[in-house]
Assembly symmetry: C2
Homo-oligomer: 304 residues x 2
């Protein structure tokens, strides 16, 4: 282990439990060393709103600039007017699927080009830094450590699979086929030379990648069973518990957003746990390792 | 290039077109060097019947031994009686989905265990060799050559994704997440400790991975556009044409089963090509490279 191992993690039981886990995993066959990470709020900042929502708002403004009537649709109107009451009434799923339609009919390659163009210039709305600066430095170090111990590292995100794939290699060193998320269906259309292209549709292929769907989607998409899983909301709980079904060493790591000064303080609701208490408490009771951003991380974001 | 490069390929235009292609690809960014292979009939022998069908017949015999009434179902009866007329009447899709039900309700891990147990003892029905001996030696050398040139290698199979994943690393050095095929849906069930497990269902998730579905499935499963594709039937044609949509060097390689003495002589039907002629002729007209097993391969199977 290099002297820079988990350099942004403070000494203490959390850091130690990670070190103990990777040391124990050294005894496993390499193909069993499988680590999965949620993305939003686990590998990068998800507040005040999902990065993907910022991208889609950009697509919406572009569409409205080209044709003002587009903005008449109620889901779009609620966003353009920043009408929180209307947004709540319509619900995030309906709004998200309306936004998905903005990219229906384009090729996978064109969608990737648009996402990369967005990341080229976009900045975080309150922290005012490029979005790549919103990755969590301690989590990047954890990914590095796992790779040093011959883990294969995957991303299992509630966000759009193709959105994350566009930057997964650059941001995390994770190849596109190692990203599983909420997937838009494709249809094949032929060009004027009769050659086939995959075209984005406006419908989901399978379920939104949250909760139990994270378990089935990671099996279908990756064919691996993780022994390490990191997440930050109840939507990650099934995946984290699934990682703990192996007989050998396992680790479920919960990122606790308890640092209002350096990031954002919030906690996911624990409804899926039948618990009146907090999600962090529920995870601790299950035997998960809690990474407190306030106490365990000496640094949140990478040096610019 | 080592002196063993494509050692089982005879000198000639086919071997040379492969060498020219990989040399040209050296100028591309590594992330664009993406190669996809069909499996049945392209990487291993698919005659006289698909390997997966042999596995499923074993599952059927096991189920009938445990409960004879299982064999009363018409799809199973037609197989157990080797009743070709009845099989043709029912159709392969219906028979395949009936067989899929034999593995419904088990975990992904248990399915993998059964597949590996099958490969441990199964032998080819006419060639009488272990199934690993049915890989095509020239194609293994081609995979090696592509990797030497920093290609990422994927399998896009009409067969069951999980069936191929169970042996893809051992047989081809291809990790499970790099295999896309016909996918069975999963549901999540909880064990007595309330921990989630992915359980096989009896229904398909998405389409059978043939024809245009190979293009959309490889996009959804892998997020890559290939510049090299190899196949052997019209079900591979869309994927092969898709690989040729890049502006840079591309290669579509068709394995022509024209060697009745050393393997099996047969040709896929070309219905999807609106061609009265042969599929091989249609591919040649499109500009594909044809690998004749008889003329281009000095050796078919690996030395045992």
């Amino acid at each position: 282990m290099s002297e820079h191992t988990l350099a942004s993690w403070n000494d203490g039981p959390t850091r130690q439990s990670i070190l103990d886990f990777v040391a124990a995993a050294d005894d496993l066959p390499v193909e069993q060393r499988v680590a999965v990470f949620d993305n939003d709020g686990t590998l990068w900042c998800e507040k005040p709103s999902y990065t993907q929502l910022l991208f889609m708002l950009g697509e919406l403004h572009r569409a409205v600039a080209a044709d003002a009537t587009v903005g008449e649709r109620s889901e779009y109107r609620a966003l353009l007017d920043d009408d929180k009451a209307k947004q709540a009434e319509l619900g995030l799923p309906a709004i998200a699927m309306a936004l998905v339609e903005l990219c229906a009919g384009i090729t996978a390659a064109e969608f990737e080009r648009r996402v990369l163009a967005f990341f080229e210039s976009a900045r975080h709305p309150t922290l005012d830094v490029p979005l790549k600066q919103l990755r969590y430095q301690p989590m990047l170090e954890l990914v590095d450590l796992l790779r040093e111990h011959d883990f294969s590292v995957f991303i299992v995100t509630g966000g759009g699979t193709e959105f994350v794939r566009a930057i997964s290699n650059d941001f995390y060193g994770v190849a596109p086929e190692r990203v599983v998320g909420s997937m838009i269906g494709y249809e094949v259309q032929r060009d004027d030379q009769d050659r086939p292209h995959p075209i984005r549709t406006k419908t989901m292929f399978g379920e939104v990648d949250e909760g139990d769907a994270k378990v089935s989607n990671l099996q279908m998409g990756l064919g691996r069973r993780p022994i390490f899983a990191a997440g930050n909301t109840p939507g990650d709980a099934s995946m984290m518990e699934y990682a703990r079904t192996s007989d050998g060493p396992t680790l479920a790591l919960l990122v606790d957003h308890d640092d209002a000064d350096r990031e954002f303080a919030y906690e996911g609701k624990a409804a899926s746990f039948d618990s009146a208490g907090s999600f962090v408490d529920a995870g601790r009771d299950l035997g998960w390792t809690i990474a407190s951003m306030r106490d365990d991380w000496s640094q949140i974001f990478p040096a610019s």
